[in-house]
């Protein structure tokens, strides 16, 4: 049953990260994409046993390095965003072909990615705006999109110009087709790619709005969970 939380406003960024963290099963192997998804790490409970993967060849990555005496900046130890990070006990290092074999081979339980658009059928667009003067840069986004067992997207539900980012069909170039499982936004959490045709969208919970209000603002085939 769709949970409508109208006793509060939409989620802030940190709150969205906390909701995503809540839904990651303990003991999961997880990759957090560059940008907003990185915040999810701060909300994983102590003892969750979640192991973070970074595409540049490491399992059990720790928090960002602060540069303090116990926590020096090491230029040889960074995350996918090239930010200096730390190593947790039980970590391992491996080269790039092995790291992406791990991703492509379906061994990661969860990845969390940002998005420009997600389609009702689970298509993801997060690498290219399609603008003719934009320099294309994909990194590891396509590998993660098709590789992780569960692909979670974290984004604002509407763009700055008010247009919805959860759409019937992506207008931006795709990162992956039919790959997204859930979409976490400031206004609601959705399961995409549901129903007999795989193009339905379930509203799991709302924040500061109602199912009916969302249905009025979105042009996708919503159903209540």
């Amino acid at each position: 049953m769709t949970l409508e939380r109208t006793d509060r406003g939409p989620l802030g960024r940190a709150e969205m990260a906390a909701v995503v963290a809540r839904d990651i099963p303990s003991g999961s192997y997880v990759n957090l994409g560059i940008g907003q998804p990185t915040l999810v790490a701060d909300h994983l409970p102590e003892g969750s046993g979640v192991v973070l993967h970074t595409e540049n060849g490491m399992l059990h990555m720790g928090p960002a390095a602060t540069g303090g005496p116990d926590d020096p900046i090491d230029p040889d130890l960074t995350n996918a965003g090239k930010v200096p990070v730390t190593e947790l006990p039980g970590a391992s290092y491996f080269h790039h072909a092995d790291s992406f074999a791990m991703m492509r081979g379906g061994h990661l339980d969860v990845c969390v990615l940002g998005a420009f658009q997600v389609a009702a059928g689970g298509d993801l667009a997060n690498w290219h705006t399609g603008a003719p003067d934009a320099i294309p840069a994909v990194g590891g986004a396509m590998d993660l999109a098709i590789g992780a067992k569960q692909v979670l997207v974290m984004m604002s539900l509407f763009a700055k110009d008010g247009s919805p980012k959860l759409v019937e069909a992506c207008t931006y170039p795709l990162t992956g087709a039919g790959c997204v499982d859930r979409v976490y936004t400031d206004l609601a959490t959705f399961r995409v790619g549901t129903g007999p045709d795989g193009r339905g969208v379930e509203v799991l919970e709302t924040w500061g709005t109602t199912y009916d209000e969302l249905a009025a603002r979105l042009d996708v085939p919503l159903v209540r969970a």
């Binding site: 303990s26 192997y29 074999a101 991703m103």
Partner: protein, 236 residues
């Protein structure tokens, strides 16, 4: 979720293997062969198995005993015929087991492809030989290749040297062989190790099989999680 579990006995470690499963069994001859796990699999009773292993058993123990017990429908390997492979030889000659012979490197690469999410690959090995018969070929930049498909395991039984409490593994010398490849190619990977050390007991630079690929670990009888001279353990 995916966290590695640690088991007291080999029998517990192989619980649940279903009839008809594809089981990858590590080792090159006896080096790296998970003998105790194979013995436990015999006791567990699963039958109609497809077994993927470099050889088809030596003497009367381990994989040979599994074959002798009539549990294996089909053997996929590179080199079944050895001086002490009389169990397999007898089954094969009497038509009681199927055999797929795969060049050793193609066997390894097909399992590597399974673990790495590769759908198929063009391989130069065996072109023009009976082992490529019936397979799609293609000329690429003047060389002929044969199309090979992944080999996935429902289970992998492997032998390693030391595990830490995250399931990270290191191996010893040429006993490493198929272990890392099979660990990534199977849905459920079961490792028998000499010793389990606490988290932090293996240098992250030296881990060969990360714990993400290891579902169940059982230490040899009498050993178990223990601190101690880890450097020595790792290199022993």
């Amino acid at each position: 979720m995916s966290a590695t579990t640690f088991h007291e006995t080999h029998d517990e470690a192989v619980a649940g293997v279903e009839d008809g499963s594809t089981v990858l069994i590590g080792g090159f001859g006896m080096a790296g062969m998970p003998v105790d796990l194979v013995d436990a699999l015999i006791r567990q009773g699963a039958s109609d198995l497809v077994v993927v292993s470099n050889n088809a058993g030596n003497g009367d123990t381990g994989l040979a005993a599994l074959l002798a017990a009539g549990r294996v429908r089909r053997m996929v390997c590179s080199f079944p015929r050895q001086s002490d492979s009389w169990v397999f030889d007898g089954l094969y000659r009497s038509g009681r087991i199927e055999l797929e012979v795969v060049p050793q490197g193609t066997l390894a690469e097909r399992m590597r492809a399974a673990g790495a999410g590769i759908g198929a690959f063009f391989c130069p090995t065996a072109v023009g030989t009976p082992l490529a018969e019936g397979k799609e070929t293609r000329e690429i930049e003047g060389r002929t290749y044969v199309l090979e498909h992944p080999i996935r395991g429902d289970y992998a039984l492997i032998g390693a040297h030391v595990a830490d409490a995250m399931g990270n593994l290191v191996y010893r010398k040429t006993a490493r062989n198929f272990g890392p490849v099979m660990a990534a190619a199977a849905r459920t990977t079961i490792a028998q190790v000499s010793r389990v050390v606490p988290v932090g007991g293996l240098d992250p630079e030296h881990v060969v099989t990360p714990g993400i690929y290891v579902d169940r670990v059982v230490a040899a009888p009498g050993s178990g999680p223990a601190a101690g001279d880890l450097q020595q353990q790792e290199q022993a």
